[in-house]
């Protein structure tokens, strides 16, 4: 099965804290609701960016997900407050969650 | 060793300026860059450069 996304580390200022997911198709439609359900403290927001709408979901002091700023791209921004172990765990959790969503959408 | 060799290019010129300020040696900025430097000065400049290049 074609890998639904590629992950790239942003080597700019937030070294290792900003990961970009590039999707073959699109960011999964159910991402926001799934993250809100999976992480108790998570909250969602959005902001207008020209003609685009940027969606944000934040798990406080752990990570933020941002999408809508570019086609088929998801940003995972890890937090300084999280420990290195938590960051590894969160990256893995997001990758698994996104993979599951992509798989479900493909199957649907 | 000359100033030109120790501080090559435009980035080198900026680093030389940093060193001149750190060591309070304005004469470094007026010295000919291709003149040989004495060993003691080279050592001083290299130590200062190592310090300035750190975070």
């Amino acid at each position: 099965m074609r890998q639904p996304f590629q992950v790239e580390v942003d080597e700019g200022c937030q070294r290792g804290l900003h990961l970009r997911f590039h999707f073959a198709d699109r960011v999964p439609d159910e991402l926001c609701e799934t993250v809100l359900a999976r992480f108790d403290d998570a909250f969602a927001g959005w902001e207008a960016l020209g003609a685009r709408t940027v969606r944000r979901v934040i798990v406080p002091f752990r990570f933020e997900l941002r999408w809508g700023h570019a086609d088929a791209e998801l940003s995972l921004i890890l937090r300084f407050s999280a420990t290195p172990e938590e960051r590894v765990l969160d990256q893995r959790s997001v990758e698994q969650l996104v993979t599951q969503l992509c798989t479900c959408e493909l199957a649907a | 060793m000359t100033l030109q060799e120790l501080f090559p290019g435009k980035m080198g010129k900026v680093e030389l300026t940093r060193i001149a300020i750190r060591l309070r040696m304005p004469q470094l900025l007026k010295s000919p860059t291709d003149a040989p430097l004495d060993e003691a000065l080279v050592a001083t400049l290299q130590t200062a450069l190592d310090t300035v290049r750190k975070g």
Binding site: C13, L17, A48, F61 | V14, R18, A20, P26, K54, G55
Partner: protein, 410 residues
């Protein structure tokens, strides 16, 4: 997220006041390179200046903010304002609960000057970098407990920039070693900037409108990750005080020209990382890039963006592939000079000069539209090229002119 904040309002010529203090956006790279420059000569004792400048700016803000609180606010109100202001402006997270009127210990789980500086160099610093934090918290603690601003001397006991898991600053009620007394902020330019440059497909008003809808508040850990950098919405007063004090002290060493050159170099770093980050960001791609048909349009797009940063109002009056003339109304550096010291005999807008030349270099020499990785190697390669733009400050508000004018040419 609801925070207890000082009164805030936009003012003319692109200024934005928070508790009466003008704010300007700058990134961790500029903050790092500026501080590195300021601390070059240990005999200048700039560590004290940085702390005192931070205390001055924060103290002025707190004083005006208190005036807006009913009865000057309770201790609890003031504590919330201090902690929330630190986070809102992107400085990090601060815990002042361990401090009383007699002193105590402040902890900083997250600090822009701690963690975000360490990220710039990717290694531990030899000395603590959270000097701004030390000044801020000394003013904050005095404000919270209703004692004179200069009550506390701050000592940095731990700093994330040195690899500590969090920051720790001890406050002793022994009086600050160095103080600055604060000053009023005036708008100095009566000149009318006029409309943006007409011969471009870039719509500045639309860009400012779009940027105005973005959230530039500190996130839940008090940081502002935007455009690929870590922003601070910082005090113009702080930057001006530390920069001008540096120059005044350097003047006595015979190295004033060199000091000014390094402030320009610091500005080049700012242009490279902040402007480069903006021009390679998703926000630029979404809002500004679609309007850009030529390299000249990129310049106008970047100028439009600068006009959202609180740096004054920039207007391009001439532009070609080899030369640009930018007029700046109420550039924050000139305003600070006039407010603090009165008219200057020399131009003082070193950051603005570097930003103008740096913008041109990114667009016309470094091909920023190809989205290069903005690392040190690329900076070095870009900087070593022939045919780079060099700035000249041909008019200066600090010297009494109607506007500041930067000509960058190659």
């Amino acid at each position: 997220m609801t925070r207890a904040l000082a009164p805030a309002a936009p003012r003319d010529h692109g200024r934005f006041l928070y508790g009466g203090e003008p704010l300007v956006f700058h990134c961790n790279f500029y903050n790092y390179w500026l501080q590195k420059t300021l601390l070059l000569d240990p005999e200048l004792q700039m560590e004290e200046v940085i702390q005192a400048a931070a205390s001055e700016a924060a103290g002025q803000m707190f004083r005006r903010a208190a005036a807006a609180l009913p009865g000057g606010g309770t201790t609890s109100d003031r504590l919330a304002l201090a902690v929330d202001s630190f986070a809102e402006l992107g400085f990090g997270t601060v815990d002042l609960s361990g401090v009383s009127a007699e002193g105590g210990t402040v902890t900083l789980p997250v600090s822009h000057y701690g963690q975000c500086f360490r990220q710039v160099v990717d290694s531990d610093f030899a000395t603590p970098q959270s000097l701004f934090d030390a000044g801020f918290v000394s003013a904050a603690a005095a404000f919270v407990h209703g004692v004179p601003r200069h009550t506390f001397q701050a000592t940095i006991e731990a700093c994330a920039s040195m690899g500590a898991p969090s920051g720790r600053i001890r406050l002793d009620a022994t009086g600050a070693a160095l103080t600055f007394d604060g000053y009023a902020h005036e708008a100095h330019s009566a000149g009318d900037p006029g409309a943006p440059f007409a011969d471009t497909s870039v719509d500045e008003a639309a860009i400012l409108g779009a940027l105005g809808t973005l959230d530039f508040s500190g996130n839940e850990e008090g940081l502002i990750p935007r455009f690929g950098v870590m922003l601070t919405r910082h005090f113009a007063s702080f930057y001006n005080r530390v920069s001008f004090e540096f120059l005044r002290r350097m003047d006595k060493t015979g190295l004033l020209d060199a000091a000014e050159m390094l402030l320009v170099d610091t500005g080049y770093r700012c242009a490279f990382h902040t402007f480069g980050g903006i021009m390679t960001s998703a926000e630029w791609d979404a809002v500004i890039r679609p309007q850009c048909k030529t390299r000249a349009d990129w310049v106008h797009g970047m100028v439009a963006t600068v006009n959202a940063l609180g740096w004054g109002v920039w207007r391009v009056s001439e532009l070609s592939e080899d030369r640009v003339v930018v007029r700046i109304y109420d550039d924050y550096e000139s305003c600070g000079q006039l407010d603090m010291y009165g008219r200057s005999e020399r131009p003082v807008s070193h950051l603005a000069a570097a930003a103008v030349a740096g913008t041109m270099n990114l667009i016309y020499a470094a091909d920023i539209h190809e989205k290069p990785t903005l690392d040190l190697d690329f900076y070095a390669r870009a900087f070593e090229q022939d045919g780079l733009f060099e700035p000249e400050q041909t008019r200066s508000m600090a010297m009494g002119h109607e506007y500041t004018e930067i000509v960058a040419s190659r």
